[in-house]
């Protein structure tokens, strides 16, 4: 874990504050979330108080402070998706995964995130699992989609932070 972090910080020698958000993004890419240790270390590297780092990190929706599940489910709640019934889709996903938005299931298999708009409005309603889009989802098809990931072997590549 720490080696990942050092590698990220080494890419930003003598960095100033404008490098803060890119650094946090890379740390999250590597580690899946922003751990307390990571935030403290980033603060030392940039010579900024930890409170300032948290101030910035908590402002933006992108940053997570808890590990993500092996499968990351994003439910789009954009206008087009809303008009086509994404509220019901979200409820169905919650029921299916038995977690609330922003949570990770106890077995670490799934995490659920609500996103403002994925930008695939033409295909509404959309959910996105590990970066793969599923278009025209219905409350009935949610179960099938989730099951298709459940059966898959655990993923170990870190590219789902799309």
């Amino acid at each position: 874990m720490t080696t990942d972090l050092d590698a990220v910080l080494q890419r930003y020698p003598n960095a100033s504050r404008d490098a803060l958000i890119p650094i946090l993004q890379e740390v999250q890419q590597e580690q899946g979330y922003l751990s307390r240790d990571a935030v403290v270390q980033v603060g030392r590297h940039l010579r900024l108080p930890t409170s300032k780092i948290y101030g910035v990190a908590t402002f933006y929706n992108q940053f997570r402070f808890q590990p993500q599940g092996r499968n990351h489910v994003q439910v789009c709640r954009g206008t087009a998706c809303h008009v086509k019934g994404s509220a019901a889709i979200l409820d169905a996903v919650k029921r299916e995964l038995k977690i609330e938005a922003g949570q990770t299931s106890r077995d670490g298999e799934f995490s659920l995130e609500v996103v403002a708009c994925i930008g695939a409005c033409g295909l509404a309603p959309v959910i996105c699992v590990n970066g793969e889009f599923h278009a025209g989802v219905t409350t009935k098809s949610v179960g099938k989609i989730v099951d298709s990931y459940r059966r898959k072997a655990p993923r170990n590549d870190g590219d789902e932070t799309a």
């Binding site: 803060l20 958000i21 992108q62 206008t79 403002a116 930008g119 033409g122 295909l123 889009f133």
Partner: protein, 644 residues
């Protein structure tokens, strides 16, 4: 560094040596794919296409070609804009023009390729053929530009989208790309460039609609050794995706536009602030910047002049408010994305305290057209105050969804009913929501207004970034207002009180309106009526006193729906009924005893345990326990659950 030979030949005209000239001509024709030497298959692989299964389609194409040992080129193109018919696959045979096919999922690939490569076209899959002078046309195949979706459009910004391979700079150059940059660097001083843009009447496409040339001049006149250009690609409006599509499908147009803008304002550094939610767009843009750098079209001393430009990509971290100029600047500086009072405007003191111009992706993508076609040609299209074209992202309850580029002044009716094909399933049109959370609704009686900045303002909407979400009779306008208010209050940065507290209070009012009576206790029903009285005045206060554009426009969805759909509000308030049956708490579910077979599926699925009944006898829903989730409707195979 030397200009790529081809570009210099295109700009300078005939080369001295006719043999070289012929060579270039040939290469150009090849790059424009006027004709192909062997069959070519194009797969639309933008985010929309991939969402609809283009990845599997692409794999199926490769499998088919390999297994039949057919030598053919496979090209990944961007998005042509007709999202609802994705995945779109084009086939071009030697000596024949390119034909476009719709909804080619992986399972349809073998049959399609078999017939298409043999020179026959299956009617049910064909969308149309391109108009190509050099190659033979297909008999009995309609032209793509006559298709009802494409015919009323004027494609300037989207001209290359879905046509060219976005990762090849040569294909962009072959279609006239970077010609405008050469023209501006050779023939125009930065002042002239600003003048041309001002004369063209180009206005910011991101929301406010401020004249672009005028804005540039402010930055040009501000003293400062370092000036910045920022491209705002933080397309946060839910319901808008044109910037993403342009960057994915034609990234070099944006790079060229940025170079022109930077030259005009005298900036040597440009930032692209792009949403992290658009990984494919970021990838394509990075590749485009690298190619342009390798060819000397950006970097140091571009084309031998003393103009230099370095482009840096910054990923946004997911904050809607960062679409606001000063908030965006704070975010690039590594701070919380909170707006600050203006003046000083960013054009005077922006990023790191230096003069900064922030332009939207679509604004910048218009610049090559403005420069190469000239200000007059650009200004000839459109209305008195709004010139050129506008790209709209058409989505919601409409038959054909996708990206639509029309001349300013096109009636809304034409966009929704001619291009979009009207409302599916025989439902009635109710409204179209334009401009995202800052915008408003256009009801039936105003469908004939022309889209331009001023006329939209008159009906209480704004151009915004251009998201058009169509709503039909099943959409509840109070619910839509609640949806936007929920979005806005979550995205409010919290700096100024009217926005932070006011939007929250407005959301609570809307929640009370849409709440069922059974969840109301004691004094709550009095609160409900009291708050209804305050809704409008609260909205007006927020509009008049907020710090930034987000807050000032935050009440628009409520004000607009109140103006046009007051009757729906009244039905919710007085009768506790949702006419569109969309507000879940106001819906009453019941079971039709004649249709129910007593299969018990609904009772098992009900998360609230509200359905009672013995097996093989009609079931019953306990209204007090029902949470209105609608699970029983989905579960019932006999359509016995009735919604009221």
């Amino acid at each position: 560094m030397k200009l790529p030979e081809l570009l210099s030949w295109m700009v300078d005209g005939e080369a001295v040596d006719p043999a070289v000239s012929r060579q270039h001509q040939q290469r150009l024709a090849e790059l424009r794919r006027e004709d192909v030497s062997r069959p070519t298959v194009f797969v639309g692989a933008g985010t929309c296409g991939l969402g609809a299964g283009a990845k599997q389609t692409l794999a199926a194409v490769h499998t088919y070609l390999d297994s039949h040992e057919i030598k053919a080129d496979v090209v990944m193109v961007g998005c042509v804009g007709l999202c609802s018919l994705e995945p779109i696959v084009d086939v071009q045979l030697p000596g024949r023009s390119r034909v476009c096919f719709k909804q080619i999922t992986a399972d349809k690939v073998p049959a399609l390729l078999e017939s298409a490569l043999a020179g026959t076209v299956r009617d049910n899959l064909v969308l149309g053929q391109y108009r190509q002078a050099a190659s033979g046309i297909w008999p009995d195949v309609p032209f793509l530009d006559e298709h009802p979706f494409f015919a009323p459009q004027t494609r300037w910004v989207l001209a290359n989208c879905g046509v060219i391979n976005p990762s090849q700079i040569e294909e962009y150059i072959a279609r006239g790309g970077y010609g405008a940059l050469v023209k501006v660097l050779r023939d125009m001083t930065p002042e002239v460039a600003c003048d041309v843009v001002e004369q063209s009447g180009l206005r910011g496409r991101g929301g406010g609609g401020f004249p672009t040339g005028k804005k540039w001049k402010f930055a040009r006149q501000s003293p400062g050794d370092q000036k910045y250009l920022i491209c705002n690609a933080d397309e946060g409006d839910p319901g808008a995706f044109m910037d993403r599509a342009v960057i994915e499908s034609d990234p070099h147009r944006l790079v060229e536009g940025m170079a022109i803008a930077a030259y005009g304002i005298g900036a040597s550094k440009a930032y692209v602030y792009i949403r992290a939610e658009y990984p494919l767009a970021i990838k394509r843009l990075k590749a485009a910047i690298a190619q342009a750098e390798a060819n000397g079209l950006i970097g140091d001393n571009i084309l031998g002049t003393d103009f230099s430009l370095h482009v840096i990509i910054k990923m946004g971290a997911g904050a809607f408010v960062c679409g606001e100029e000063t908030a965006l600047i704070h975010s690039i500086e590594g701070r919380r994305g909170m707006p600050r009072p203006r003046p000083p405007f960013p054009a005077v003191s922006g990023l790191f305290g230096k003069p900064t111009i922030i332009n939207n992706v679509e604004t910048l993508a218009n610049l090559p057209t403005v420069i190469s076609g000239g200000a007059e040609r650009f200004a000839a299209l459109g209305t008195k105050t709004s010139k050129g074209t506008k790209v709209f992202a058409l989505s919601g309850k409409v038959s054909r969804t996708g990206l639509v580029e029309v001349a300013m002044g096109t009636p809304v009716r034409k966009i929704v009913f001619d291009i979009g094909g009207g409302i599916p399933n025989g439902k009635a049109y109710k409204a179209v929501q334009i401009g995202g959370p800052s915008g408003g609704c256009i009801p039936t009686q105003h469908l004939d207004i022309d889209v331009d900045y001023e006329s939209l303002k008159m009906v209480g909407a704004i151009m915004g970034s251009g998201g058009l979400v169509v709503m039909d009779e099943d959409t509840c306008m109070v619910d839509v207002a609640k949806f936007f208010m929920d979005f806005i209050q979550r995205e409010s940065c919290g700096k100024c009180i009217p926005c932070r507290e006011g939007t929250r209070r407005m959301l609570e009012i809307l929640q009370r309106i849409t709440r069922g009576r059974k969840r109301e206790r004691g004094i709550e029903s009095l609160d409900r009526f009291k708050s209804v009285l305050h809704l409008q005045s609260l909205a007006e206060t927020i509009r008049d006193t907020s710090l930034c554009g987000l807050g000032q426009t935050a009440p628009n969805p409520v004000l607009s729906t109140l103006r046009w759909f007051r009757d729906e509000y009244e039905a919710h308030i007085y009768d506790r009924v949702c006419p569109a049956a969309a507000c879940t708490e106001l819906i009453i579910y019941s079971i039709d005893a004649d249709k129910c077979r007593g299969c018990t599926v609904c009772a098992k699925k009900c998360p609230a345990g509200a359905i009672l009944g013995a097996a093989k006898s009609p079931h019953h829903i306990v209204v007090d326990k029902c949470i209105g989730c609608g699970c029983c409707v989905d579960a019932c195979r006999f359509d016995a659950v009735v919604k009221q």
